[in-house]
């Protein structure tokens, strides 16, 4: 370890965490390819580093969202039963797979994420329809309108099914999995997007912690790499959230969706 590599790791954390926060994704989607393609780290070590970075950003974000009352704690904890189960299985599977196989799986994940990003950018936001006849009621004050938004959730078992898959992907590939959970929570259970994003973020830390210990016990966590990367991602995500309030560009989503597609091809071919 040299001062230069330490600074480079910190800087890469800031960039990947910042871009992730700007696009509403966890830092892992960008951090892992960065660590593998630029720093030539083994895939398992890159995933382990990303997992702790994901815990840091999710916990910091969840602390803020809890104070704003946008998290539905009961729904989140119910879904955690499925996501934690998925993450544990994912973590065990990842440690049985080779680095090359994980690289190919991650390339496929990036392809799916970039397609979902393009879809999201193309979608016109329609007014949200909330239901009041479901279960686990929640409410929060919408910052944009100042009005209180009340809602309930529906189709909990179906969302738990998606939660299991998201948790499995998180444990297997070291990402948060919010890109799968948030659409399920809004479209299936009828949750307002702000509550769904905050509740998904609240769950991500627990899901990531479920597989983090497996990677730690298997010796994939190098403190010289994980510490500067985690500190960088944490700083980057704080800056990204602040910048995101000023920049609302679909163009940005398009650009990074294409960038992710390029990274996916490069990872697959490597």
């Amino acid at each position: 370890m040299t001062y230069t590599s330490l600074l480079l790791l910190f800087a890469s954390g800031i960039i990947t965490g910042g871009v992730g926060a700007l696009l509403g994704l966890g830092g892992g989607v960008f951090l892992i390819p960065f660590l593998v393609l630029v720093f030539d780290l083994p895939m398992h070590q890159a995933i382990a580093t990303s997992i702790v970075a994901v815990i840091a950003t999710s916990s910091a974000g969840a602390a803020m969202n809890l104070e704003r009352h946008t998290v539905n704690m009961r729904f989140g904890m119910l879904l955690e039963i499925a996501t934690v189960f998925g993450a544990v299985l994912g973590g065990i599977t990842a440690n049985l797979l080779s680095g090359a196989a994980l690289k190919k799986l991650f390339a496929f994940l990036l392809l799916v994420v970039s397609i979902l990003m393009i879809r999201r950018a193309r979608q016109r936001r329609t007014s949200e329809q909330v239901h009041l006849d479901g279960a686990l009621p929640g409410s929060f004050i919408d910052d944009a309108t100042g009005a209180e938004v009340k809602y309930t959730v529906k189709r909990i078992p179906s969302v738990m099914g998606v939660g299991f898959v998201a948790g499995n992907v998180s444990g297997l590939l070291g990402v948060g999995g919010g890109i799968f959970k948030v659409p399920a929570m809004t479209m299936l259970s009828g949750m307002p997007i702000k509550a769904a994003t905050a509740t998904s973020n609240f769950m991500i830390g627990v899901t990531a912690a479920a597989s983090a210990f497996i990677y730690f016990a298997n010796g994939h966590m190098d403190p010289y790499i994980a510490s500067p990367a985690v500190l960088g991602v944490l700083t980057g995500s704080i800056l990204g959230v602040r910048l995101g309030r000023k920049i609302k560009s679909h163009v940005l989503t398009w650009i990074f969706a294409v960038v992710l597609l390029g990274i996916a091809i490069q990872l697959y071919l490597r």
């Binding site: 916990s59 009961r74 627990v206 990531a208 190098d222 403190p223």
Partner: protein, 122 residues
Amino acid sequence: MHKPVTDAIVEHWTSRVLRFGVWGSAALMIVGLVLSGLQSFTLPAPEQNPSLGELAHRVWSLTADPIILMYLGLVLLMFTPIIRVIAAIAGFAAERDRRFAWVGTIVLVMLIGEIVYSVVGR
């Protein structure tokens, strides 16, 4: 007379737990990195990650070097969501919401089972 525990109070305390975990671990990692940098990063990272028992022993015996401090930061971060689950269980129990205290307990048992599996399976 005791103030009744509400969702807002539970959310506030859960938020505090998360803040403490994140900033506490960040502080440990920064101190570890700075101390390590002062020694020009000459301390080699161990081939294998230390076990949780080894980490606890090094702290208890006051023989923690900068690398152990960084490990402690990472482990504190990994434990933060678990402590958050415990805080939520305590909150739901104080609210007399038995059903969700049990839901939290199931999540906690799964997490503890996974830690035991990681330690034993090593």
